[in-house]
Symmetry: none
Subunit: 232 residues, 2 copies
């Protein structure tokens, strides 16, 4: 179905894959429904290779993966998308071409197609509900490819504005609270005061405070004290 | 849209997740379109909790992830689904409840929702084509959950004294400060009040507070207000 081909193109391009081959599409080619579904990934369809057989589609590849829901072809390695795409990244870095075969929505790949593959990709789904559609299967494989190929952005956290507060800043904040709470009679009874102060110090030092956070906590305390004093 | 809720249910159940809460669905609930789309995952919809607010949805969770396409909320950690679900598996093994928030198809989560989260999940997509839909985002997160939960390193269960505060406890703490600071005239000028409140919510939700810490912060505020009132 055209819709499934279009959705597969979107799933590929979400993770930077753009080389699609289409084997003997049921409804001919080009297919306006595929184009409508692909929207922003339409370029993949324009540039897709139209071929008559699976064998032609993977002719250039040195290593071929077939995706199946059930692993009918037990004589081959059956691996997860993760393992497959890590292997693919290694092969490609070594100059090999790698192809992944996806079957049509309902029927999946035919045994003849699976037979051409060097290994099988099977997504480890919930055995009670193994209902991935074609585009979802492409999505998960492309997602793993993206990660394995090393293009995943590292964990972001903005540098300067969100810099962790210095020890001196946290110390100053702790003293500010300790002093005002002392005035407010928080540390009571006296024999427990030392322990309570330590609990508070521990609390501040355990929090991952930024310089900006420290200013907010100063501001909170200052405003409440001002409120009190205004009424005095 | 009902279809998106149904597709999200399918994506969850494909990887064994079945606890869904639905916040104020646009078209009411139950929704026959959601049921039609969910097909084999209909049980998730039957058992879904219908709640009025995001805050109610995540009340029992000690740690909340929000998913966003763009990381508007840069002061929080932005992590991949992989890192998030490994962390979630560790937290859950340690007895903490973890929730993941997903926004509606087009608009995504509102800033107020993101403000309640402890960290952000962002899928590292192709920057030229970042077009994941809701169900795809759920699918990738559930996929990573399935993998992480199968291999989660067990962690010593923390003694209760150090138990992470629940979302409801932190929410209550945030409201306590917000209310007193409102009385104290902290949110000034009025046109900045909403932003200042959001900054504060973000601050509280970023802190790794234990239940004991929450009590200390309540105690600090209560004592200072009592101090003020004593003098009134």
């Amino acid at each position: 179905m055209g819709e499934n081909i279009g959705a597969a193109a979107r799933a590929m391009w979400n993770f930077g894959l753009d080389r699609m081959s289409i084997v003997a599409p049921r409804d001919g080619w080009p297919n306006p429904r595929a184009v409508a579904m692909a929207s922003g990934a339409g370029r993949l369809l324009d540039e897709a290779r139209l071929v008559r057989s699976t064998s032609e589609a993977v002719a250039d590849a040195a290593f071929v993966y077939a995706t199946t829901a059930r692993s009918r072809e037990l004589k081959k390695d059956v691996v997860t998308p993760l393992v497959a795409m890590q292997d693919a990244a290694t092969r490609i870095a070594g100059g090999q071409g790698v192809a992944v075969l996806f079957g049509p929505e309902r029927a999946g790949l035919q045994n003849d197609d699976v037979a051409r593959a060097n290994a099988i990709i099977s997504v480890p789904v919930n055995p009670e509900f193994p209902s991935l559609n074609l585009a979802q299967c492409v999505l998960l494989t492309a997602y793993e490819w993206h990660r394995a190929s090393g293009s995943a952005p590292r964990r972001r956290r903005e540098p300067t504005e969100f810099a962790a507060a210095s020890h001196a800043e946290v110390e100053h904040l702790a003293s500010h609270y300790e002093d005002r709470l002392q005035d407010a009679g928080f540390f009571f009874p006296p024999e427990k005061a030392a322990g309570m102060k330590q609990t508070l110090r521990n609390l501040w030092s355990r929090m991952p405070l930024t310089s900006a956070d420290v200013q907010v906590f100063h501001g909170i305390l200052r405003q409440i004290v001002r409120w009190k004093e205004r009424d005095d």
